[in-house]
Symmetry: C2
């Protein structure tokens, strides 16, 4: 059986999408520094990429630059944020309030990018009721009710591997459409459900690149 290649918004390739946040970071920094206009060449130098790649990537956002000048910083930020949908609020929860979950809760950059973390969940009674970085830890039993009541769209899984599939099933049945999976397990959605997006954050891939190349 052949699965169709995933098609992305407006024809942007996966590698392009993955580079956009780095551009946004550079351009936001430029704005902080009071710079009004920035060229693709400058962004490329900053990130050690080729200028042509930066221009091609930025083009997917629909931004129009001015020859000889570059891109208006304010407009470029808006274009990148809009393309990434980081100008909209995404209501999210984190399941698991161990060290990784807490680290993610404290990742303030998320807020700038539209991610609204509204709750954490844990099955450890010692943690339930506590607050980390201002976000309350709820009992994992309340997952389904909370998701439905608060129209949570994204669930971030920072739990032990052996709990991952069960939690995945629970949150999907409760209506979550996106899962950000920080466990090493390949998750499966319940049969018959097709409109769920699962993004795996794979730390061992990075380690593989590091050890093979060194």
């Amino acid at each position: 059986m052949k699965r169709p290649r995933m098609i992305n918004r407006k024809g942007a390739s996966l590698p392009t999408i993955r580079r956009l946040p780095a551009y946004l970071q550079v351009v936001r920094q430029a704005e902080q520094d009071g710079i009004l206009v920035i060229s693709g060449t400058t962004i490329a130098e900053e990130l050690e990429l080729e200028p042509i790649q930066v221009r091609k990537d930025l083009a997917v956002t629909g931004i129009a630059g001015k020859p000889r000048v570059g891109y208006v910083v304010k407009d470029l930020i808006a274009a990148l944020e809009h393309f990434l949908r980081w100008d909209q609020t995404h209501t999210a929860i984190i399941v698991g309030s161990g060290h990784l979950g807490t680290a993610l809760l404290g990742h303030t950059e998320f807020r700038k990018n539209g991610l609204n973390l509204v709750a954490a969940f844990d099955n450890d009674p010692v943690k339930v009721g506590k607050k980390f970085h201002g976000i309350k830890v709820h009992d994992a039993q309340e997952l389904t009710a909370f998701i439905q009541k608060n129209s949570v769209t994204l669930a971030i899984l920072a739990i032990p591997t052996h709990e991952a599939q069960e939690v995945c099933t629970t949150v999907v049945l409760a209506g979550v459409k996106c899962i950000w999976n920080f466990t090493s397990l390949k998750l499966r959605v319940p049969d018959g459900i097709t409109d769920v997006l699962i993004q795996k954050e794979d730390i061992s891939s990075g380690y593989a690149v590091l050890s093979v190349r060194s």
Copy 2:
């Protein structure tokens, strides 16, 4: 100026290298389950990939399968581990013992993959001297001396962005050849040093994919 495309061991592409850990995980699980021989088709099904891609990827490790049968589980594990250099010990330190650093210290899977975490470092006096997951937190002042004394090859950076470049410079000057960068800063090695490998673990890329596709 044109930078040459990075060439990897035995011609394995970057995407291939990044998939290998997933294969290893599946095959190790098979071994646990008492399975002696596994086919590329089976691995592909498990990971929702195409069988041809799995076979091509496994080929880079030099493993030879048997038509109609598959690969000997024990041999395949050995081949993957050896290709990834996960059969060797890599002496590593973690700089930063906040939640992320502590989460990484507690990531037991690393040990199975040759990563020997020997120390953590922090500049918070409250944390110095404590132990997390059996690993002692040292004063960041001791970084250089420790690296040189213990021939540390890998430094994992789990520190605030604004400290990242300084720590990078310190550990590189002390002799570290590999940096695993969990901050969002693009790091630069000091002038004249060329044989340092920096791998950036980019969480915002994953979030970008998630929000663009949803």
